[in-house]
């Protein structure tokens, strides 16, 4: 988790906001209204401003997530290497729609923009783990490892 900056830290506590939201999300799986309020109170940053930040950045989740978050890139490099068919496969295999969560809360599917794995496309992040050179076979094997 985001550790406090060394020595003097940030020159303003407001700068801790992104890290505090990551921590809150790590602890609770997503950023609920209560979670945002708690961060606001901790840092003395207006609650509305906290929400503005939490909804600006794509990797903060403002809705409850499944236990495992599949973040699959469909940007150009991954798309031309077949990412779309993987998304279709996830729908077939798990009934997952982009943005959706399986009924058993095992997976949530998030469509990502470029995750910097274009040379090893298609690629995804499951939680914090990178998986590259995906195909219709290995993606299911990989996901089998996430319960």
């Amino acid at each position: 988790m985001s550790r406090k900056v060394r020595k003097e830290g940030y020159p303003s506590t407001r700068s801790e906001l992104l890290g505090a939201l990551h921590t809150k999300q790590y602890d609770e799986g997503w950023l609920s209204q209560d979670g945002l309020k708690a961060v606001s109170d901790d840092l003395n940053v207006p609650a509305a401003a906290v929400k503005g930040v939490a909804t600006f950045y794509h990797m903060y989740h403002n809705e409850p997530m499944g236990r495992n978050v599949i973040q699959i890139c469909t940007n150009v490099a991954c798309m031309i290497m077949g990412a779309e068919s993987l998304v279709d496969l996830l729908k077939k295999e798990y009934g997952l729609e982009p943005g959706g969560t399986t009924d058993d809360k095992r997976f949530t599917l998030v469509i990502m923009e470029c995750i910097g794995a274009c040379g090893t496309a298609p690629a995804m992040l499951v939680n914090d783990d990178f998986h590259e050179n995906l195909d219709e076979k290995n993606i299911i094997e990989i996901l089998n490892g996430y319960k």
Binding site: Q33, L36, K37, N44, P46, A47, A48, A49, V50, K51, G52, T55, F56
Partner: protein
């Protein structure tokens, strides 16, 4: 000198400004949308794009500063095309529901499209859908219409300092939202309504009730709620106020208002307005004609005056009434009733505090411009939250803090939570220990300033609390106080803002310590003022011992000169102050009272005692717009007009005299002065006025303070203290060190001065009630824990024979041991829990409540 050429026209400028400002100075129009004067620069809408020679890209006129020799073009083909393109973009997701939208007619986007926009759009896909939000009682949000100019957010964050709204999401899915996404949890200043250029953020209060072009006239007047005296424009159709709005160039508020000012005007139209005079017959108040009511008053007051002179009659004037009304009121009392028993509820704080400070520092010491606070490098707050009592003044403190000023709070000031550098909040009731510690530390290491002998001597005698006592009694660490004091010592431009609670428990001791702080830091002082005309009330002589212009009634030379100049006699002996009146009522030495525009049985401490005193009266007249608790006890009730129905003047807390302009006829009440002139006439007075203006001219004759300011002069800066340069009396008073009244009880009750109410007066505003309609008992979670209640549980507060049951509201921003209850709502009179006793040295009330009990109900 900078010369810039815009559209081949040379414009000379004193200092660098933006291209937009330069163009405006040169009379050249550049269309804008996201630009709003006074808000942080943004440059987002791209409508003000212009060509600047030597720069390859188009530039936004609202952000780029001119340089000498710059050549700008604003109407080239490229620009015209770019503008049209921006408007076409803006309309992609805009619903074009103008026929249905309340903003149509005053919508910036509509106007811009008409002037510069394309004939038709080429966007063929579906527009963004986002349902209109009706979650809030006051503000409707329609995010389909939003153009993302962020003016509202910049206003809310950067000017109001509330930071209650934000942009959520991003890109074309950016929406303006409060934290909840629905109802606002904000100060309801409504300044976002002012700046929204389209129909995205609208007032729900007049939704679909009118169109901008229905406005027949606009009346510039003043807000009637507090002592800041904000200017506002009343938009009228026939006899109805459609809306009140601020104007950017008007008054001291420059476009800002608070919740009360913006939304509270509706109480004028309340169905609870009194519409006919009432006279008590067989124990019941029944409607009668004006002639009968006024005749009854004249006859009864005449009878009582006949018994033993006017000394048997008390008059309570009002800081909600104009100078003109108050002047006539005191003249009626002095000339016709032969009574100097004239006072007001301003006796609770504003008048004694000002008296005391003027005694030490000279007349006019509190006459400081509110805008000066914004330029201070340190601000000290004591005795109340300025952002609630005088919200627009509070904004100046926030502005100062934003510029780096140290803001040191010595009392609960929730509204400055994010702006204060030091919050030194003593435990309830121990304020004067904290003040004493500050004063002592300010003196440490330096000699007394030597500018005021009496104060120097008093300070040397001060028995200031010791460090260990300070910590144990106030709960504030001495190190924190020391840090704040060091900041104060290093500041060069200090403002001290004092609120009513300075006196509440500590009486003169608190005030003495504040005077010492002012002295030691060479500060400007501001007295918070809960009502619009506390200063004017004093200026025109609604005081038992002082005539208009501050002339002591008991000094024969002053009195005689006054009589000579004014042509009427005044009684020699000073009259009774507010609290003495109550005692006299109890003893029977006051038999009749005339209350104009106030509600003393609700608004005075020891309200049960006050109620009983009023009950003992033989005759009570109440002149008011509503059937208040006091009016319900009256023998005659005379319906009065409210400020939007009046002409006249108010004097604000900076002693600025401002004009009130009548916008509409009253639904049933008469202007206060007219009622009194009529009664006086029935009792044989020759007093006769045809208009408020004529009264003003007489006030100027009576008060050397105002010199000969005409109503016309008041529209200019001549209305600022010291007006026409009259010499000021210097301070000469002897200064005593008032005694320390010892330890505080465990729990102290304070009247909570809500941002959304203004005493019992605002309870008649449906709009303000929609924001806050229920009473509460606010307390710290520690106190709640001790008595075993959770947020929302009922608590019972008991003091003597009085008891209130209220819903608890837990708020850790307020000090432990304090209970804050609004003195607003019918049947919930917090003043019934607060007792008073006259302070040693002055007729002020000091809360000495002990044995207050709070428990779970």
């Amino acid at each position: 000198m900078i010369t810039v050429t815009i559209n081949e026209k040379d414009i000379e400028l004193e200092k660098p400004v933006t291209i937009l400002e330069a163009a405006r100075q040169g009379g050249i129009t550049i269309p804008t949308l996201c630009y709003f004067e006074g808000l942080e620069k943004f440059g987002g809408c791209r409508l003000c794009l212009v060509e600047v020679e030597k720069l390859p890209k188009l530039q936004t006129a609202c952000t780029v500063m001119v340089t000498d020799g710059m050549v700008v073009r604003t109407e080239t083909d490229t620009i015209v095309k770019a503008r049209r393109a921006m408007l076409e973009f803006l309309l992609i997701n805009h619903p074009l529901d103008c026929p249905y939208c309340d903003k149509a007619g005053e919508c910036d986007l509509q106007d811009l499209v008409a002037l510069y926009g394309p004939d038709s759009g080429r966007f063929a896909e579906g527009k963004r859908q986002h349902p209109e939000s009706f979650d809030d009682p006051i503000i409707v949000r329609n995010m389909e219409r939003c153009v993302n100019c962020k003016r509202c957010v910049r206003m809310c964050e950067g000017v109001q300092g509330d930071s209650a709204i934000t942009v959520t999401g991003r890109g074309s899915h950016s929406f303006i939202e409060p934290f909840s996404g629905g109802r606002y949890d904000c100060e309801y200043c409504g300044n976002c309504l002012t700046v929204c250029p389209v129909g995205a953020i609208m007032s729900r209060l007049h939704r679909h009730s009118y169109r901008p072009w229905f406005v027949e006239k606009e009346i510039e007047s003043l807000c009637g709620f507090c002592g800041v005296g904000c200017s506002m424009v009343l938009q009228m159709r026939e006899n109805t106020i459609l809306r009140t709005i601020p104007r950017m160039d008007l008054g001291i508020n420059k476009g800002l208002l608070c919740a009360k000012g913006r939304f509270g005007y509706d109480l004028v139209e309340s169905s609870k307005r009194l519409t006919a005079p009432l006279v008590r017959k067989n124990g019941k108040l029944v409607p009668v004609s004006w002639d009968e009511a006024l005749g009854t008053v004249a006859e009864k007051l005449g009878d009582i005056k006949g018994m033993n002179g006017g000394g048997l009659i008390a008059g309570i004037a009002s800081a909600r009434c104009t100078n003109e009304a108050n002047y006539v009121f005191q003249r009626f009392f002095r000339e016709t009733l032969l009574s100097n028993n004239i006072d007001s509820i301003a006796r609770s704080f504003y008048i004694p505090a000002q008296n005391y400070l003027e005694g030490i520092f000279g007349q006019g010491v509190t006459a400081n411009l509110i805008s000066g606070i914004g330029n201070s490098d340190a601000v000290v707050i004591a005795g109340g939250d300025p952002t609630k009592i005088n919200p627009v003044l509070g904004l100046q403190i926030r502005a100062a803090a934003r510029k780096g000023a140290r803001v040191i709070s010595l009392s609960d000031s929730e509204g400055l939570k994010r702006f204060g550098s030091s919050q030194l909040i003593s435990s309830a009731g121990s304020e004067n220990i904290l003040y004493g510690a500050v004063v002592r530390m300010l003196m440490e290491g330096s000699d007394v300033p030597g500018k005021n002998k009496a104060l120097d001597e008093a300070l040397q005698k001060l028995d200031a609390p010791k460090d260990k006592d300070v910590e144990s009694r106030t709960g504030v660490s001495v190190a924190d106080i020391g840090k704040a004091v060091d900041e104060l010592k290093s500041a060069k431009n200090v403002s001290i803002v004092l609120g009513p609670d300075v006196l509440l428990r500590d009486g003169m001791r608190g005030l003495f310590l504040m005077a010492s702080m002012i002295y030691l830091t060479d500060a400007r002082v501001y007295l918070l003022s809960e009502r619009p005309n506390e200063q004017g009330l004093a200026d025109v002589g609604c005081l038992p011992d002082t005539l208009a212009g501050g002339r002591p009634v008991e000094l024969s030379s002053f009195r005689e000169k006054y009589e000579q100049e004014m042509g009427y006699a005044v009684p020699e002996k000073a009259g009774m102050g507010l609290f003495e009146m109550v005692e006299a009522m109890e003893k029977g030495s006051i038999k009749a009272a005339y209350v104009m525009g106030d509600n003393p049985v609700f608004n005075m401490p020891s309200s049960h005692r006050v109620r009983n005193a009023f009950k003992a009266l033989e005759f009570l007249v109440v002149q008011d717009a509503f059937m208040t608790e006091t009016a319900q006890m009256a023998d005659v009730v005379l319906p009065a007009a409210i400020w939007s129905e009046k002409d006249g003047t108010f004097v604000n807390l900076e002693r600025r005299i401002q004009r009130l302009h009548k916008a509409k006829n009253s639904v049933g009440g008469l202007e206060d002065w007219k009622i009194i002139v009529k009664i006086a006439g029935l009792m044989g007075s020759k007093m006769s006025f045809g208009s408020a203006k004529e009264i003003w001219e007489e006030i100027c004759k009576a008060s050397h303070l105002y010199g000969s300011l005409s109503y016309e002069d008041l529209e200019s800066d001549k209305a600022l203290w010291p007006y026409k340069g009259e010499p000021l009396r210097s301070g000469e008073a002897a200064v005593e060190v008032p005694e320390d009244h010892g330890t505080a009880p465990e729990v102290v009750v304070y009247a909570d001065r809500s941002l959304f109410h203004s005493g019992s007066f605002s309870r008649y505003s449906a709009a303000l009630n929609s924001i806050q309609s229920e009473p509460y008992a606010m307390m710290h979670s520690d106190l709640a824990g001790r008595i075993g209640v959770k947020d929302g549980d009922k608590v019972r507060i008991t003091s003597g024979n009085s008891s209130l049951e209220l819903v608890s509201m837990i708020n850790d921003e307020i000090r432990d041991g304090s209970l804050r209850v609004p003195n607003v709502f019918e049947g919930v009179c917090v003043m019934s829990l607060i007792d008073y006793e006259p302070d040693d040295s002055s007729a002020i009330n000091v809360q000495r409540t002990s044995g207050l009990k709070v428990e779970k109900a």
